[in-house]
């Protein structure tokens, strides 16, 4: 709870600072844009949060975004498969990727870092191969499908502002994820095995299945994210579509309170973390005083600051708790 307040506070501070430094920040257009981007990246961050909770990592997210984001328009426009089948294939491929990661990690005991690093290379290479590096998009077709990413729900009373539809998608995903994590026994199992896999196994939890499940959730949400991204921009270049997205997702999850040691994390925190990342990027674009090319440095510094502050607060609390126990 304190962690959530901390990150929420940081988000507010960055928002206020940006609003003071740029009059373009609080425009309906910018806010809408910010919401849309937060929603799209939020889907990825929630996915990777599940993996991080098991004390794993998924570096292949950006490449899965690329594979699905480029592959889906390729299937629909070049191969001309029916829409339903195309969506089914995209979902199937995502699930298969998650399964493969999970099984390699649990059965062969290869480190998640290695497995998903190879995934990162393979899926991008494969995508560039079957498209011959051609940019993919939907052109003027599939308006109904693109509506998922591009439509907006107008808010009466505010001129020129609407809530982007991806926000609704994120809301659905987030509520489902939060219920899964906090209200089902499987969520409890994930949190438990993230802390101590041995003890979870000794308690009769099928830890290997749960870990595979986490990677499947992550890959599936990466696939969903990939689809939404390409529906939004309508043009995906295999060489760079989704590049670095895994790092944005991981950073947002960590900023939002997931520990890479496993067993910790809340969905609300992850969404706040994602929002903070996107506000930071907007700030760099909008504030003229900031050179655009130092974007990564600023994002890196803020994440580092957040994590260090969190660690210091944790130590302070632990010390105070110890002192209280001595007195009591």
């Amino acid at each position: 709870m304190k962690k959530l307040l901390g990150i929420f506070g940081l988000l507010l501070v960055v928002c206020v600072a940006t609003a003071l430094m740029s009059d373009k920040f609080l425009t309906p257009f910018n806010i809408e844009n910010l919401l849309r981007r937060t929603a799209l990246f939020g889907v990825l961050s929630i996915g990777v949060a599940f993996v991080i909770i098991t004390s794993g990592i998924d570096l292949s997210i950006g490449s899965v975004v690329c594979l699905i984001g480029v592959g889906l328009p390729w299937l629909l426009t070049s191969v001309k498969v029916p829409l339903a089948l195309g969506l089914l294939i995209a979902a199937g491929v995502s699930v298969a990727i998650g399964c493969a990661h999970g099984l390699l990690i649990t059965r062969l005991r290869i480190q998640p870092f290695v497995v998903t690093l190879c995934g990162l290379l393979i899926y991008r290479g494969v995508t560039r191969g079957f498209t011959r590096d051609q940019t993919m998009g939907f052109g003027n077709d599939f308006k109904e499908l693109r509506w998922l990413a591009t439509s907006r729900i107008p808010v009466p009373g505010i001129e020129g502002f609407g809530i982007p539809f991806p926000c609704i998608i994120l809301l659905v995903v987030a509520v489902a994820a939060a219920i899964f994590l906090n209200q089902t026994i499987y969520g409890r199992y994930l949190l438990a095995l993230g802390r101590n896999e041995d003890a979870a196994r000794y308690s009769g939890i099928r830890t290997e299945r749960m870990i595979v499940l986490a990677y499947v959730i992550c890959a599936l949400l990466s696939g969903l994210g990939g689809m939404l991204f390409v529906l939004d921009v309508n043009s995906a270049q295999p060489a760079d579509f989704g590049n670095f997205y895994e790092l944005y997702a991981i950073a947002a999850a960590v900023l939002g309170g997931c520990s890479l040691r496993g067993g910790q994390g809340t969905i609300t925190g992850v969404i706040l973390g994602t929002a903070l990342m996107q506000v930071l990027r907007t700030m760099i674009t909008l504030v003229d005083a900031l050179p655009k090319n130092i974007e990564y440095a600023i994002i890196g510094a803020v994440i580092l600051g957040g994590v260090v502050a969190d660690e210091l607060v944790k130590r302070f609390v632990a010390r105070r708790k110890a002192a209280r126990q001595l007195l009591g």
Binding site: R188, Y202, G204, I205
Partner: protein, 449 residues
């Protein structure tokens, strides 16, 4: 490692401030921790001089390390090459390396925390010889142990601590088992091990609750095991460390699935491929290492307590609402667990209370067969007595109990029957009337029958 809150430490009459391991070492005080602190990927010599390697022209002088290491090893009577990797040594020899390391910094006070807890009988004897030798040469030794036999054998003087305060001191002539236990318990000894003679050997007729035929564990796949366990029986498994006792339990529980043989529950053959199979068959295991295998230390008492039973109590996959609070409240009172509330993280509880949480987790499932591995290791005497009481109570309700213990008193005091193991084999089965320390030790060291 932890600075004192108040009080003072005097060394040879002079008050000293010890605020770090380095200052302690500088004053000649060395600690050998229960869990060894060696880098097992380095060789013996490098470990002894870790962090203070002799140098020549800025580079490590390996020749001198090994020459000096040989001298240190000779002082503790350890005959291994100083170039052996530590991971290739037995635990007993690693312990000797720790001592050699402590001596190499000219320690005058050597603090040893449960040094024999993972040694074989033979290694422990060797260690005791070294300790006596060191003490004869003027090294003061603080020997921390809950093995009273060792204390009796080694100590010139004993200080008993209870609940973090001095409970009393015993001088040379007064160190007896009864005196020690009285100070530790703070109450009379007679009520301590209480498995009543009457409740023993009433093994009911009929199909055994648990029967094992030709069972082969992955640790000793060439040895076949056979035994049975009846409702209400309490059976101890004795033996030295490494005899394969833990593996019997982990194999029954599906953690290390059997390499062969049959496990029958109430006469029905069962395959224990994973803990879940064993749980479904009515088994529960309180494992050897409660911190690593028994508990999620950073989770609350309540969440630990329900971890195993969630699957049975779930509502279509959802958490079972008030069940969690109810079961943890009932276990906290039934096992008298001392915790401020059931939201407390388990890592803040004492060892004894942690162990009770592990026990509570399994009792929530109402098992028919309870397996316990070193159920009272490293917990205080009061909690021990309570764990015995609970085991008694369960046996009285018809639960079959199979426990592994390295504490002779525990095996002798609690078992209706004891199985003794040696190098993966059951070398003998002792009914209660034949149970004696001598009989167990004979079988544990490989003398059959």
């Amino acid at each position: 490692m932890q600075p004192p809150d108040q009080g003072e430490i005097r060394l040879e009459g002079a008050r000293v401030e010890i605020d770090s391991v380095e200052t302690a070492l500088r004053h000649g005080i060395a600690l050998i921790h229960q869990e060894l602190n060696l880098a097992d990927n380095l060789d013996v010599g490098s470990n002894i001089f870790l962090g203070r390697e002799p140098r020549r022209r800025g580079l490590i002088d390996h020749a001198r390390i090994h020459a000096d290491a040989r001298l240190c090893l000779a002082r503790v009577g350890l005959e291994v090459d100083s170039r052996t990797l530590v991971r290739d040594l037995t635990i007993g020899h690693q312990q000797m390396v720790e001592i050699a390391k402590a001596l190499s910094v000219d320690a005058r006070v050597l603090i040893m925390d449960e040094p024999t807890s993972s040694l074989t009988q033979h290694e422990a004897e060797q260690l005791k010889r070294v300790i006596r030798d060191l003490s004869a040469r003027g090294v003061s030794i603080v020997y921390i142990s809950h093995r009273l036999g060792e204390v009796r054998e080694l100590a010139h003087r004993v200080t008993v601590l209870r609940d973090g305060a001095n409970a009393g001191e015993l001088g040379a002539g007064e160190i007896t088992h009864d005196n020690l236990v009285r100070l530790m318990v703070g109450r009379d000894v007679s009520q301590f091990y209480r498995r009543a003679a009457g409740s023993a050997s009433r093994a009911p007729e009929g199909v055994p609750l648990l029967e094992v035929r030709g069972l082969r564990t992955p640790a000793h796949p060439e040895k076949e095991l056979a035994f049975e366990l009846r409702a209400g029986e309490m059976v101890g498994i004795a033996g030295l460390v490494g005899a394969g006792r833990t593996e019997v339990l982990t194999t029954l529980f599906g953690i290390t699935p059997a390499a062969g043989g049959e496990i029958l529950i109430s006469g029905v053959p069962r395959t224990m491929g994973a803990p879940i199979d064993a749980i479904d068959a009515g088994l529960a295991l309180v494992p050897e290492d409660r911190k690593q295998q028994g508990l999620i230390l950073e989770m609350a008492v309540r969440e630990n307590m329900t971890l195993a039973s969630l699957r049975r109590e779930q509502r279509n996959g959802f958490l079972p609402g008030p069940y969690e609070a109810e079961i943890s409240a009932s276990m906290i009172s039934r096992l008298s667990i001392k915790t401020p509330h059931d939201r407390q993280e388990v890592r803040f509880l004492s060892g004894g209370n942690q162990q009770k949480v592990v026990l509570g987790k399994w009792l929530a499932l109402e098992p028919r067969v309870l397996l316990l591995d070193e159920p009272t290791r490293g917990i205080d005497v009061g909690a021990k007595a309570e764990i015995y009481r609970i085991m008694e109570e369960l046996a009285g309700q018809g639960v079959a109990i199979l426990f592994v213990s390295s504490e002779m008193e525990e095996v002798l005091g609690l078992s209706d029957r004891a199985l003794v193991m040696h190098e993966g084999r059951i070398t003998g089965e002792l009914p209660r009337r034949d149970l004696s320390e001598e009989a167990v030790m004979r079988l544990a060291t490989g003398h059959s029958g």
